[in-house]
């Protein structure tokens, strides 16, 4: 399959990149790992006159630990996320997604920024970013902007990024003690599969009596964008953690929060049933983490 002809740009700094983006706007596509963009170009799903590669910009490839928060550069790969100590220790739901995205070959190239900007409702990192309340860091020649990741997605493949902007990274507060989180994806096989459904959960406990002070649950592959499961979260609020409570939350997610479609990967009913199961399992796992602390 031939790639269409385009002019290739390789800026060495964010400044250069945003100037190029300002100049070419929608005539240019940003290239990170290329595991979505090059496939879409080869399949002629999109065209472009200019490709701006971000991979030579060192700042975008870093994970910065600022003690209370972490900044993950847009071009950090899945393989790097999986290996990173700060991620392993504080954001295991992100690690669980990064560990399982695509194949090991894809994970060596695929970036977090690319996964988010590709904006698939089935993407393997977005649900976790939502439950950790990550902020997307955007930059253009007009300045910088920070957006809660939850409001970043408009529809499949479409985000709130402006024509002259690039995503430079993500800011995440490090969860304190008594917090647990987990992410599970369900595919037909273990490797290189588009998810049938995927769920991330985060819970924060009151250490004195193990009641749930705070929770966030995000569901993937059941709507046009990944969504929050507010009914399930409400059920957990101020209750003592237990298996039956987690089951009840799963049932709320299944019946009240998701509106999946039928397709060749699974029927809507199957997806709903699995949302119930995965919600319960991610909550169980998150609770076990807190107990083990």
């Amino acid at each position: 399959m031939l790639l269409p002809k385009f002019e290739f740009h390789e800026p060495a700094s964010i400044q250069e990149a945003i100037e190029l983006k300002k100049k070419y706007r929608t005539d240019a596509r940003l290239l990170a790992g290329g595991t979505d963009l090059l496939v879409h170009l080869k399949k002629k799903l999109i065209t472009t006159d200019h490709v701006i590669s971000l991979l030579r910009i060192k700042d975008l490839g870093q994970i910065k630990n600022n003690k209370e928060s972490v900044e993950i550069g847009a071009c950090v790969t899945m393989a790097r996320l999986s290996e990173s100590k700060v991620i392993q220790e504080n954001f295991c739901a992100i690690k669980a997604g990064a560990d399982n995205l695509g194949t090991h070959l894809i994970r060596n190239r695929a970036t977090l920024g690319g996964n988010v900007c590709n904006a698939s409702p089935a993407a393997d990192t977005i649900c976790s970013l939502i439950v950790y309340q990550a902020h997307a860091l955007l930059e253009s020649t007009d300045g910088k902007r920070e957006l809660p990741i939850e409001s970043f997605f408009m529809s499949p493949g479409k985000t709130d990024i402006r024509d002259n902007e690039i995503l430079t990274g993500f800011k995440l507060s490090i969860p304190g003690k008594n917090c647990g989180a987990h992410y599970i994806q369900l595919g037909k096989r273990k490797s290189s599969e588009i998810n049938i459904v995927n769920v991330a959960s985060f819970i924060q406990f009151d250490p004195s009596d193990q009641t749930i002070m705070n929770s966030r649950i995000a569901l993937g592959s059941v709507a046009a964008t990944p969504i929050r499961s507010f009914h399930a979260e409400k059920i957990l609020q101020n209750k003592k953690a237990s298996e039956s409570l987690f089951y009840e939350a799963g049932e709320a997610a299944r019946h009240k929060d998701c509106k999946p479609i039928d397709d060749f990967r699974g029927t809507a009913d199957y997806r709903k049933a699995m949302i119930g199961v995965l919600t319960k399992r991610t909550l169980d796992a998150a609770f076990k983490q807190v107990q083990a602390q």
């Binding site: 790639l3 595991t35 590669s53 690690k95 669980a96 399982n100 194949t103 090991h104 070959l105 599970i184």
Partner: protein
């Protein structure tokens, strides 16, 4: 528009002009005649085009040749030397891990990279390490045995259950 790149392929530095829309797989195959690197799907699904780029395996069909500027690339042709085949290549032959051979270069590059990073991977790590490489012929078992035989402590008790549980994040 052509760009000049400097790239080291199998330890040989070279400078050449490439089209911006040319992939690394095409550069290797058409400009260098290194046709050991195969193209199956051309979209990242099959792993036939696996090469090692700066120490990490990649699908060379999803890397632009211009992106390899300043990089080291290892292909299947770089494994053998004047003494003959690489031990991993020999193991593939001896264990019958090759049938049509189309997947073999990519499979061997993934296996080599896995063993370069960890000379004693677990059964699970071996299977995970070649999970990006599809084989339509062998059923994988003999490939698994060939790689297993090259671990620093070869595992005599090979577990034939390819579906054993994975790391977390999966059902």
């Amino acid at each position: 528009m052509k760009k000049i790149i400097n790239v080291t392929i199998n330890n040989k530095p070279c400078e050449l002009a490439v089209e911006s829309n040319q992939t690394l797989a095409d550069l290797l195959r058409y400009d260098f005649g290194l046709t050991g690197t195969k193209k199956g799907c051309d979209t990242g699904d099959c792993g036939a085009c696996t090469v090692i780029l700066d120490g990490d395996t990649v699908n060379s069909c999803l890397v632009l040749a211009v992106q390899a500027d300043g990089s080291m690339v290892e292909t299947i042709e770089g494994l053998s030397n004047e003494d003959g085949l690489h031990p991993l290549q020999k193991a593939f032959v001896e264990k019958g891990a090759i049938q049509c051979g189309f997947c073999s270069p990519g499979m061997i590059m993934s296996a080599k990279n896995l063993l370069d990073k960890n000379d004693n991977p677990s059964d699970w790590e071996i299977k995970e390490g070649i999970s990006g490489n599809l084989c339509r012929c062998t059923g994988y078992q003999k490939i698994f045995e060939a790689i297993s035989s090259q671990c620093s402590k070869p595992n005599s008790d090979i577990n034939p259950n390819i579906n054993q549980g994975g790391p977390h994040g999966k059902i």
